[in-house]
Each structure stands twice: as C-alpha cells, then as structure tokens.
Amino acid sequence: MSDISARVHELRSLENLSAGQTAVHRLHPLTKLLSAIAVIVLVVSFGRYDFSRLAPYMFYPFVMMALAELPYKLLLSRVLIALPFCLFAGLSNAVLDRAAAFSIGGFSVSFGMLSLATILLKMYLCVMAALILVATTPFFELTAQLRRLHAPMVFVMIFETTFRYISVLLEEAHSMATAYKLRSGNKKALEMRHMGSFAGHLFIRGFDRAERVHAAMRCRGYSLVHIPTARRRLLRRDAIALAAVCLPSLLLRFVTFW
C-alpha cells in the first residue's frame, strides 16, 4: 500500500514542476494546449508502419523538455504507466503480421515488428505531449483557460475540486490503510471482504467533508456565477511558439522527406 503515498508524491512532483519560470512556462496556456493537441493529432494520424516518418517528432519532447528544464527521468518513468496495453496490442501485431518488410544486415524485420515500434513511438510522443503540457502549466492556469474557452462552469468546478481533494483523500486512505495494516499482522493488502466497510468509511468521510467544504465556501461568499477569471492576451511570443511547433509538424506530416 506504499503506492498510495507514492501517488501523492507523483501528483505533487508534476505540480511543482509547473511552477517553473522558464520561457516555456511563461507562454500563454492556450498556446501550450493547442500545440500539444496539434502534435498528438498529427502523430496519431500516421499509418501503422510509418516509424521512420514519425522519428523527427522526437524533437518536440526533447527540445521542450530542455527549454522548460524538465527532468528527463521523472517524465520517462510516467511513460511506463501507459506501456502495458500498447505493448499488448503491439506484440500481437508482431506475432500476427510476420511478412518481412526489409532486412538489415541479414536480420529481417517484419511488418509486425515495424508496427510494434511505431505504436511504442506514438505512445511515447503522445504521453510526452500531455505531460509537458501539465508540467509547464500550473493547474489553476489550465482551468482558467478552460473557463476562457467557455467550458461549462459546473464541469470546470468539479474538475478543480476533484484535483484539490485527491491529495486530501489519498492521505486519508493512506492513514486508514496503515491502521489496517498495523492491526492485521503483516498482510500485504486489504482482504476483499473488508473492502466494503473500508471504502464505505472512506466515502462517508469524504461525503461529510464535502458538505463542510461547501458550507465553508458559501460562508465566504462563493457562488458559481461570479468566478473571476483573469484575462490574458496572446502575445507575439505565443504566436511564434505556436508557429514553431505547428508548421514543422504539419510539414513533416504532409510532405515525405525520405
């Protein structure tokens, strides 16, 4: 159950990164959002065997991480979470699609292997694009941007409260789990038959807490209608950054260089 505290740490480490002061961090959140989406959609639109045409997109994660001074190791470890399902699909391609595509020095590469490599590269690029977005944009700026884009108030609000309360409830779950462990004589995990009262207690605690939170918010004058959102203008540097990401990406997608 140590993974609970590990997750709290994971969550906070990304949030801490987003407080950086580099040029990438200072960009308008919309710029970062649009460039992440552009890269993801373009990368995903490549065909099953387009490994070599996808390779140049590696510039995006490498250059962005360097410019934003993000630690390579931390982000790489996150990529591994997304691995299992993609690996399953990719490996099944490698097993089923055995026709040889080409050979390098006597070692023949099948179409299946090519598509496995393509899936893994796509996965890496997509995950990195999302991680770079949140590692360079503080959460409150992200939600402010969602409000500016006229996302439904209610949804943004739920998104925000969920995010804020994850670490609170994770800590609560962690201390409950520790208490359970100490009383249960070296058990590694919860028994399934105890799950009902365990999760039930967690939920009732959370429910009561939510009502107290809501009462406290109302006492301080909260209402859904008037949530101030700071205006932020797109500057010239935003246009340049967006062009620097999108133009080469589009070019690489629609023109074949090799």
Partner: protein, 340 residues
C-alpha cells in the same frame, strides 16, 4: 485505451460524443435547484473514487490483487448524472497527470468508463432493479448485474474503437475473445466490492443512497432523446472524419494492401493506383527526397525502404537528442555564470 492505438477519426468522434454527454449532464445539473450544492460533493466523490482506486485488495483463492473502477459505485451513491460528471473529471486528471490513456483517447475513455456505466447501464439496469424498494439483497443484485454489464460493454467498445482505428491487426473474434472473459471476471469482482460498499453505506447512512435513488430526478431531458442525439452525433462526426481520412492515403494504403493479401507494400501500391492514390502519389513523388520509401532508380528495390527509413529515423533521433542536450548545456552554463 491509449492515444497510440487510435486513429484521429475515431478519437475525435469519441471526443465529440463525450463532450456532448458532458454538456447535457451539466445542463441537467444546472436545471436542478440543489445542483450547485452537489458540485463540491461531486468533486470530493471523484477524489474518493481516485483514492479508492489506489487501494489494492487481495482476491480470495487467487492471490491476485485488484482495485475498483467505480462507475457503478458512484452512480449508486450520487445518481447517474452527477456520477458521470465526477468520473469524467477523474479520467481527465488521470490522463493529464498520470499519463493514463492520453488527450485524444480521453473521449474514448470517458465514453467507455463514464457514459456506459452512468448514463446507459445505470438507468437501464440498476434503477429498474431497485424500483420496488431498497434492501441489501436488491442492492447487491443490482450492483453485480450492472457492474458486469458495464465492464463487458466497456470492453466491447474498446475492441470496436481499436479495430475501427486500424492500428492492430488482431482479428475481431480473437480480440473480443481475449477482452470479454477477462472483463467478465473483473466485472464480477467489481460487482462484489460495489455491492459491499453500497450495503455498508446503506446500513450506516441510508439517506445517502435513498436520496440518490428516489430523490427528485435531476433535469427535464428524457434519456432516450439524449441517447438518440448522441447516436446521430456519432454518425455525423465519424462519416465527416472518415471522408477526410479516405482522401488521405497513408495509413489506408497499407490496410488495403493487407486486405488484398499482399506482403510487399511496393507491389500493392502499383495495383491500387486509383484516382486519389494517383494524385497523392504524384504529390508525394515530387516532394520526397527518396520517393515512396524506395530508390528512384529502382522502385522495386525493397532495400530502399530499409536504408532510407532506418537512416532517416536514426538521424532524427540523434539530432533531436543533440538539440535537447545542447539547450540543456547552454542553460546550465548560463545559470552557472549568473550565479558567480
């Protein structure tokens, strides 16, 4: 579901469908006089599901460990629409901060794990089973049946979305035969845990479950209309996007080649030289240094594919890595200078 296994057409369609479902649900909550009060509860409940997913428990007699997903659980505690909004927020956070799925796959994930349990299975299976009153046994039966149904439907949608995207070559039958039994087992475990949690909450605080099941139904929309409009939206988006995709030959050339049972890409492309392919291929030929993956002098030479591809990819990796390294070095030197 992950970005890497999706085509843009499938991914964007599912994003549009899920966004529409969120829009309708938000409108429902807005129309409810107690809706605003429920927002913090929805947020905290989302965080609760998140925390609940972190708790691993051992499954008796197997030694395996599992965790809950929580769609039906949350629907039982809050009602379908609020539960859907909570789950969507949780999935969005997992996608952004924990690299679960991806931004483009978020639409699919919200559909498979949010729309299906909370907006389809819950009103069609869970609620009808509790129509004649609450009780521990009825709650258990309803949670078990709906959890299994939700997970099976969700798994089936994952299979469909993956196959429609055309990234894997797994045949439909094999893929479904792999996914569905696994999710049947997961569904049974999930159902057992869900019924235990709901029974516990019902014992301790019956009013929470009572108000979710029998309270004033939120909203003025009928579910049938919502589902019908979601279906229409799916059809419009997917046909518009696939129209675009079919003028865009890259991925399809290979798929078509596969369908014709040819092993070599170069051969099938010569055969598949239809109108669209012709135009695209001539454009590609004009713009490419090594057109269509092969040496210009000898279009049948498969070595061209390997040589240009491998060299190009290797060069790209090296340049990208070097660019990153140089920027990092320059930055740290600058920092060292400014510290002196």
């Amino acid at each position: 579901m992950a970005d890497a296994l999706l085509s843009p057409a499938v991914g964007l369609t599912m994003c549009a469908v899920s966004a529409a479902a969120i829009g309708v649900s938000v409108a429902k909550v807005n129309n409810d006089e107690f809706g605003e009060k429920k927002i913090p509860i929805m947020g905290v409940a989302g965080a609760m599901v998140f925390a609940g997913q972190m708790i691993n428990f051992t499954i008796p007699a197997t030694g395996a460990s599992g965790h809950i997903v929580g769609g039906i659980l949350l629907a039982g505690l809050l009602g379908g629409v609020p539960a859907f909004l909570s789950i969507s927020a949780v999935l969005a956070i997992q996608c952004l901060f924990f690299a679960d799925g991806g931004l483009l796959a978020l639409g699919c994930n919200i559909f498979n794990m949010g729309v299906i349990p909370c907006l389809i299975v819950y009103p069609l299976i869970f609620r009808p089973l509790l129509k004649n009153g609450l009780g521990t046994k009825r709650l258990s039966a309803a949670s078990l049946a709906s959890s299994v149904a939700a997970l099976e439907l969700g798994a089936f949608c994952v299979v469909l979305q993956t196959l429609l995207s055309g990234i894997t070559v797994l045949p439909f039958g094999t893929f479904a035969a792999l996914m569905l039994p696994i999710h049947l087992v997961i569904g049974l475990v999930e159902g057992a845990v869900t019924s235990a949690v709901l029974a516990f909450v019902y014992k301790v605080r019956p009013e929470i479950i009572g108000s979710a099941q029998y309270g004033k139904r939120i909203g003025v929309f009928s579910m049938k209309k919502v589902l019908a409009s979601l279906a229409v939206l799916t059809i419009i988006c997917s046909s518009a996007l696939s129209l675009y995709a079919s003028t865009n030959p890259d991925g399809l050339e290979w798929a078509a080649g596969k369908a014709m049972g040819k092993s070599s890409g170069a051969e099938t492309e010569l055969e598949a030289a239809g109108g669209i392919y012709d135009g695209a291929a001539s454009l590609q030929g004009k713009t490419a240094l090594l057109p269509d993956y092969a040496f210009v002098s000898d279009p049948d030479n498969a070595a061209g594919t390997s040589l240009s591809g491998v060299l190009g990819a290797a060069a790209a990796f090296m340049f990208a890595g070097a660019a990153g390294l140089i920027i990092s070095k320059a930055k740290s030197r600058k920092r060292a200078n400014s510290n002196v």
